[in-house]
């Protein structure tokens, strides 16, 4: 496709390249047209949510035009004064933050033992770890609920946070896949120098695997931030510890079909933090997903 060779030849061929160039241009236009149409389909819903969150109640009920008139910024202060959004947000942050800490702290050594150290029976144990991911959570939820009830944990965030410190299969899997790519010379050299496994994990593997650990932490944080089933099961009876997902769901059920503007404002408050996190950490995020999907 280099232009230098083409320029030297007869005008007839030059005519053909003009034709080819026109074709390439049309293809580019078509490609972008399709991409822009899809962009609209994916982004417009968010646009509508944001604009509606700034409308008056009447306009939101029948939004003939898309732009709010007047802009009712009060919706945002209203939901904070009428609903304990700050408390829901704090609860969500506590759940997501501590559970993420727990998953990272507990999953790194497990993934290390399943990849960097070699031992007999490793493969079977690894398959066992993976197989727990296949188990529908419904199978264990009833006994776990009764167990946590005995501990007096129902109506608190403990049933959501404490288990996170016992490792998470998906995170272990992802970390292991990454640890396996670490050159063994690095680890062997440290062993020859007399480092023990803990030192190798802490000083070498964790340092090298920072992107993977960041991805795991990010996934876990988002999972908890968005989680609805867990908080619904363990916290429904105590609105003091509701997370944003339960709070928003209850708010919607009460104000169904009436306060669309406030519901949309509350949704924006709920989704904005994770969207900001995503836009900042996009690269780590997408690499993490790719790692789970392709290198199986």
């Amino acid at each position: 496709m280099s232009g230098a060779t083409v320029a030297a030849v007869a005008p007839r061929t030059r005519q053909r390249t003009a034709e080819a160039r026109r074709r390439a241009f049309l293809t580019t236009v078509a490609n972008h047209a399709v991409a822009i149409a899809l962009t609209a389909a994916f982004v417009l819903p968010l646009f509508f949510v944001v604009t509606t969150s700034l409308m008056t109640q009447q306009q939101a009920l029948n939004p003939h035009d898309l732009i709010p008139h007047p802009f009712q910024w009060r919706n945002y202060t209203d939901i904070f004064s009428e609903e304990p959004i700050l408390r829901y947000g704090w609860n969500t942050l506590v759940y997501a933050g501590l559970a993420t800490l727990g998953v990272v702290l507990s999953s790194v050594p497990v993934a290390y033992a399943l990849s960097v150290i070699k031992w007999r029976g490793q493969r079977v144990v690894f398959l066992l770890v993976i197989s727990t991911m296949m188990l529908p959570s419904q199978v264990t939820i009833v006994p776990l609920f009764l167990l946590f009830k005995q501990f007096g944990w129902i109506g608190s965030l403990k049933p959501l946070i404490v288990p996170a410190f016992l490792g998470d299969a998906f995170s272990i899997f992802l970390l292991r896949q990454f640890f396996l790519t670490i050159p063994s010379e690095l680890v062997d050299a440290a062993r020859v120098d007399g480092a023990n496994e803990f030192q190798i994990m802490w000083h070498i593997v964790v340092k090298v695997a920072k992107p993977a650990i960041a991805a795991v932490g990010l996934f876990q944080f988002l999972y908890c931030w968005n989680d609805f089933f867990g908080p619904l099961i363990y916290s429904l009876n105590n609105d003091k510890i509701w997370t944003l997902s339960v709070g928003l769901q209850q708010f919607t059920t009460i104000h169904r079909g009436v306060l669309w503007n406030q519901q949309m404002a509350a949704s924006v408050v709920f989704m904005l933090p994770v969207i900001i996190v995503f836009l900042i950490a996009q690269k780590a995020f997408i690499e993490g997903i790719t790692l789970t999907g392709v290198k199986g």
Binding site: V43, I141, L147, L244, L248, R256
Partner: protein, 327 residues
């Protein structure tokens, strides 16, 4: 206890006592590193699985009286008397059969679109992926509004003179509405396909160009086989999670149900059309406290998911193309 896992040669070949001591120490180290998972496995998986299997043969409301053995009656009731079990199973299968293939088609399609433009790919990728970040409850609330009568999507459909269904208010259109919510968040599937598409070796397309293949032939004969392992992976994950579909249906059902003036048991509204398997299980277990029956339903769910996964895996050697075999 002879072991060959210790790959570091230890001086003299037959130094057994020292070697054995080292092997034991190694296993102790492994156990220490594995300990969070070992405790978690026992407390969060082994014990609850055994307990719920036992509960599934009992009548149990969680009270001090404890579970009462009733044999197979929960399973018998499920199959012969509980019409809502069958309704919820039908709804769930409908959802899996419709949304898993659509998610794959849209995932491959939008990833394919992303590979085309030379410029702006990062921008488009971010835009396509953005909805995936929206929490499930927020997405469901958003679409309750977007798809309500007189809402924005109604206006758009009206503008193009397309039919404007009642979506979540009608039993016929509530499930398609939920499919729309799911497809809006197709981004993570798309990212996996994008990586797979970019991994297809360029020389295969160049060879096809020389042979004079058109775009469709290249897609059908090169792209599809090369990404079929990822399609398979996505289908398996989609089926496993599809059967556990819960959050969006709960939010929509509770909201529509409460508007109709129902009580908490309005789950599945309108008219049971969003009563999915896990919704009915939740209602039985955590609203009616039929813990034995809920456990039986959970185990049945597990069996169904396992069966579907096995069928998919069995079928895979007919349509999944692994590069290793080709070379």
């Amino acid at each position: 206890m002879s072991t060959k896992t210790d790959t570091i040669a230890a001086g003299a070949a037959g130094a057994t006592p020292a070697r054995r001591r080292r092997t034991r120490r190694r296993y102790l180290t492994v156990a220490a590193f594995m300990s969070p998972w070992i405790v978690g496995f026992l407390v969060l998986y082994v014990y609850p699985m055994l307990a719920s299997l036992y509960y599934s043969f009992t009548k149990y409301d969680g009270s001090k009286a404890g579970p009462r053995w009733t044999g197979l009656s929960n399973y018998q009731f499920m199959f012969t008397k509980d019409a809502l079990f069958w309704l919820s199973l039908r709804n769930t299968i409908w959802m899996v059969l419709v949304s898993v293939p659509l998610a794959i088609v849209l995932g491959v399609g939008s990833a394919y679109v992303l590979t085309k433009p030379r410029r702006g790919r990062a921008f488009y990728r971010t835009a396509f992926f953005l909805p995936t970040m929206v929490p499930a409850v927020a997405a469901a609330v958003a679409f309750l509004f977007l798809l309500n009568a007189g809402g924005p999507i109604d206006h758009i459909l009206g503008f193009f003179h397309l039919p404007q269904p009642l979506w979540f208010v009608s039993a016929q259109w509530s499930k398609p509405g939920l499919v729309v919510i799911g497809l809006w968040g197709v981004g993570s599937t798309m990212i996996i396909f994008l990586a797979a598409l970019l991994n297809v070796p360029a020389h295969l397309y160049e060879a096809a160009d020389i042979e004079g293949a058109n775009a469709w032939q290249k897609f059908r004969r090169i792209t599809l086989p090369m990404i079929s392992p990822v399609i398979f992976f996505t289908a398996v994950i989609g089926v496993i999670y599809g059967f556990q579909y819960f959050t969006e249906a709960y939010v929509v059902g509770a909201s529509v149900g409460s508007a109709a003036g129902g009580s908490s048991s309005a789950l599945g509204s309108p008219q049971g059309s969003t009563l999915f398997y896990t919704i009915w299980l939740y209602q039985q277990g955590f609203e009616s406290f039929h813990l034995g029956y809920a456990s039986a339903m959970a185990w049945m769910l597990f069996l169904i998911v396992m069966a579907c996964t096995l069928v998919l895996i069995k079928s895979s050697n007919r349509w999944v193309f692994y590069q290793g075999g080709f070379r």
